[in-house]
C-alpha cells in the first residue's frame, strides 16, 4: 500500500458503498465491522454509523476505516482490486462516530498494476526472506532459462542461419564448421545477456526498473535473489571462454581472418554495457546490436563454413540487422524511466514518444526497402522477397506502439510481435536463399 494524501483518500473513499471500522477492543483484540459513512473532504472527516452501543471504540481512540472493492469474475477470480485505509481519532456523534482523518494509504490496481506493485515490493520481500534464512527457489532448468534469457537466442539463430545458407549458395557449406560457429555464437550471446544483467545490476538500472516484462528489464535473477552475482559472473565468464576457445579453434582451422571477426563480436558484446564505454548508455545500443547480430554473426558463420571472406553475408544481413536493432529499441520503451534514473540514456530516453514512433517507422521501412533493393541490385536471390510477407506484422507493431506507448504491460503483445517480425522475416529470408540453392 502507498501513502495517500488525506484529501485524495477521502475523495477515493466516496465511491465505496460502505466502510469497515476497525479499532482495538478492551480485551486487546481488534474489532472490525461494516459501517455506513459520509465523508467530508474539506473537513478531513468521516461520519460513520449508526453503531450498536456494544461496538464502539473509546472516546478519542485511534480507529481505522477501510474501503475495499473487487469485481468478481466467475471462473477466474476477481479484478478491479482497490482499497483505501484511513486513520484518525474517533469522537461520539449522535448514534455514530466522527473520525478526524490524520493519515491514509491505499492501492488501486488501475493506478499501479499488480505486477508493478509486486515489483516495487521486491526489496521488502527479499529482506523478509533473509530474516527467515530462506531463498526464493526455481528449478535449475528455469533458473538457467531465465539467467541466460534463452528465448532471445532467435537474435543469433537468424544471422547464423543466413551466413550458412549464403555459404551453401556459394557451394561452400560445411555442416561441422557451421555447427561449431553456431555454438560459438550462442555462447557469446548468452554470455552477453548475463554480462548485461551484471552491469545493469551494478549501475542500478534493473533495480530502478519497476515495470519489467518478459521482454524487457533484464532477467531479474539478481534482483529476485535467484542467482548470486558470483554464480552469474562464473556463468558469464564460462560462456565467453567457451566462445573464445571455439573461435580460436575455428580460426586455426578455417583461417585467421575469423579471429578478427570473432574479436569484433566479443568487443562489441562487452562495450555494449561494460564501462568505460557503455555504449548503450550513450544511445548507441542499437547500432552495436545491429552490427553484432547482423553482419558480424552472418559473415563469421560464412567464414567458418566457407573458409573465406565475402561481402555477400554483410550486405544480405542488413535487413535483419535493422530489425534486431528495432527489437532492442522497442524493448527499451518500458525501461525508460528506470534507465533514465540510472543514467542509462538510451535512444528511447533521449527521444520523445513521437520521435520514437517515427524512428521505428523509419527503421522498419528501411529494412523492407533494403530487402527489395538488394534483390533489384542482384545482391540477394529473388526468392528472398518472401520476407516481405511480414509487412502486416510490422504494421501491427507500429499500431501497438502508438496505442500503448506509455503502458508497459499493454505493450507486451507489441514487443512480442516485434520479436516475431525479426524472426519470421529472417526465416523467410533464409528460406528464400534455400529455395534459390535447391532450384
Amino acid at each position: 500500500m502507498a501513502v495517500l494524501e488525506v484529501a485524495d483518500a477521502l475523495t477515493r473513499a466516496r465511491s465505496y458503498p460502505h466502510a469497515v471500522l476497525a479499532y482495538v477492543g478492551p480485551d486487546g483484540y481488534p474489532v472490525n465491522i461494516a459501517v455506513d459513512f459520509t465523508e467530508s473532504v474539506d473537513a478531513a472527516e468521516v461520519e460513520i454509523g449508526p453503531l450498536g452501543h456494544d461496538l464502539r471504540p473509546a472516546e478519542g481512540q485511534e480507529v481505522e476505516l477501510t474501503f475495499s472493492h473487487i469485481r468478481p469474475q466467475p471462473g477466474v477470480g476477481y479484478d478491479e482490486r482497490r482499497y483505501v485505509n484511513l486513520w484518525g481519532r474517533a469522537t461520539p456523534r449522535g448514534e455514530g462516530l466522527r473520525v478526524e482523518v490524520r493519515r491514509a494509504s491505499g492501492w488501486d490496481e488501475a493506478d499501479t498494476p499488480f505486477f508493478e506493485y509486486a515489483e516495487r515490493s521486491v526489496p521488502a520481500g527479499r529482506g523478509y526472506l533473509d530474516e527467515l534464512g530462506a531463498r526464493p527457489r526455481l528449478s535449475r532448468l528455469w533458473t538457467v532459462f531465465l539467467a541466460t534469457r534463452l528465448p532471445f537466442l532467435t537474435a543469433t539463430l537468424v544471422p547464423v542461419g543466413l551466413g550458412g545458407v549464403i555459404a551453401a549458395r556459394d557451394g561452400a557449406f560445411h555442416a561441422l564448421w557451421f555447427v561449431l560457429a553456431l555454438v560459438a555464437a550462442v555462447a557469446v550471446h548468452l554470455g552477453l545477456n548475463m554480462a548485461n544483467d551484471l552491469f545493469d545490476d551494478a549501475n542500478g538500472a534493473d533495480a530502478a526498473n519497476v515495470t519489467p516484462t518478459p521482454f524487457s528489464g533484464g532477467s531479474r535473477v539478481l534482483q529476485y535473489g535467484l542467482v548470486s552475482r558470483r554464480t552469474m559472473v562464473t556463468g558469464c565468464v564460462a560462456l565467453y571462454a567457451l566462445s573464445m576457445g571455439m573461435g580460436v579453434y575455428l580460426a586455426v582451422e578455417r583461417g585467421w581472418g575469423l579471429l578478427a571477426i570473432g574479436a569484433v563480436g566479443i568487443v562489441l558484446s562487452l562495450v555494449y554495457s561494460a564501462p568505460p564505454l557503455r555504449l548503450v548508455h550513450r544511445g548507441l545500443g542499437e547500432p552495436v546490436t545491429a552490427l553484432g547480430f547482423g553482419p558480424v554473426m552472418a559473415v563469421g558463420t560464412y567464414f567458418a563454413s566457407a573458409g573465406r571472406w565475402s561481402w555477400q553475408p554483410v550486405l544480405a544481413s542488413l535487413p535483419v540487422a535493422l530489425l534486431i536493432a528495432l527489437v532492442l529499441y522497442v524493448n527499451q520503451i518500458p525501461d525508460r524511466a528506470g534507465d533514465a534514473a540510472a543514467g542509462k540514456r538510451t535512444l528511447i530516453v533521449r527521444l520523445s514518444p513521437a520521435q520514437v514512433q517515427a524512428g521505428y517507422a523509419t527503421g522498419v521501412g528501411a529494412a523492407f526497402v533494403c530487402i527489395l533493393v538488394e534483390v533489384v541490385a542482384g545482391v540477394t536471390p529473388a526468392w528472398t522477397l518472401l520476407a516481405l510477407a511480414t509487412l502486416p506484422l510490422a504494421w501491427r507493431v507500429w499500431r501497438g506502439l502508438r496505442a500503448h506507448y506509455g503502458e508497459p504491460y499493454a505493450l507486451m503483445p507489441t514487443m512480442q510481435s516485434n520479436i516475431l517480425l525479426h524472426l519470421l522475416t529472417g526465416l523467410l529470408f533464409v528460406i528464400g536463399y534455400v529455395i534459390a540453392v535447391v532450384s
Binding site: V20, P30, N32, V35, G52, E62, I70, Y78, L129, P136
Partner: protein
C-alpha cells in the same frame, strides 16, 4: 489443516466458503489497527490466509501481536443470499517453515475461489517472489454474527471453545 469437527458455526463457514475477500485487521507495533483485504480460506475450524513475502508487513505485525480479526462485510465479495455479515476474532500464527511450497496445501481451497491462480502458478518463474508465501492460521475465539447484515443492530455472539 485440522480434522476436527467444525468449530465455527455453520452459517459462518458458509460465508467463508464463498467469500472472495475478507478484511483482516491486525495490530501494528504502535498498537493501532491496520486492515488488509485478503482471500479467506477455512476448513471449518481454522481460518487461513496466505501472504506473499513481498507484502510481509502484516506478517511482522502478527508475529509481534497475534490478536487479529477478520470481517466478511462486502455483499459483492461475499456473494450469499440472503446476505449476512460476520466478524471473527482470534489468535493468528504465521506458518512459514517452507515458504516455497508449504502454502500449496491450501491451493485447493484457493483455487475454488480464484481459478486463475493455476495460470499464474504455471508462470511462477516470472513472479517467483510472489509465490514465496507464508500462511496465516487463525484460531477463532469469538464470532459476531449479523443475520440480516445490518451491523447497526445487535450482533449474535458465538464464544468458541479452543481448537486443539
Amino acid at each position: 489443516m485440522s480434522d476436527n469437527p467444525p468449530l465455527l458455526p455453520a452459517p459462518v463457514i458458509a460465508l467463508l466458503d464463498v467469500a472472495l475477500v475478507g478484511e483482516l485487521t491486525v495490530i501494528d507495533q504502535a498498537g493501532r489497527p491496520i486492515t488488509y483485504p485478503l482471500i479467506p480460506l477455512s476448513d471449518g475450524n481454522l481460518v487461513y490466509l496466505t501472504s506473499s513475502v513481498l507484502f510481509s508487513r502484516k506478517l511482522r505485525h502478527i508475529k509481534a501481536n497475534p490478536k487479529v480479526c477478520l470481517s466478511l462485510t462486502d455483499p459483492v465479495a461475499v456473494p450469499v443470499k440472503p446476505f449476512h455479515r460476520a466478524t471473527i476474532q482470534g489468535d493468528a500464527r504465521v506458518v512459514e517453515d517452507d515458504v516455497h511450497e508449504g502454502w500449496e496445501q491450501l491451493l485447493p481451497l484457493w483455487r475454488a475461489k480464484e481459478p486463475a491462480i493455476d495460470f499464474f502458478l504455471k508462470k511462477r518463474f516470472g513472479i517467483p517472489l510472489f509465490f514465496e508465501r507464508s500462511v496465516i492460521e487463525i484460531t477463532p475465539h469469538r464470532v459476531l454474527w449479523w443475520e440480516d447484515g445490518r451491523t447497526s443492530g445487535p450482533a449474535r455472539v458465538y464464544e468458541l471453545a479452543g481448537v486443539s
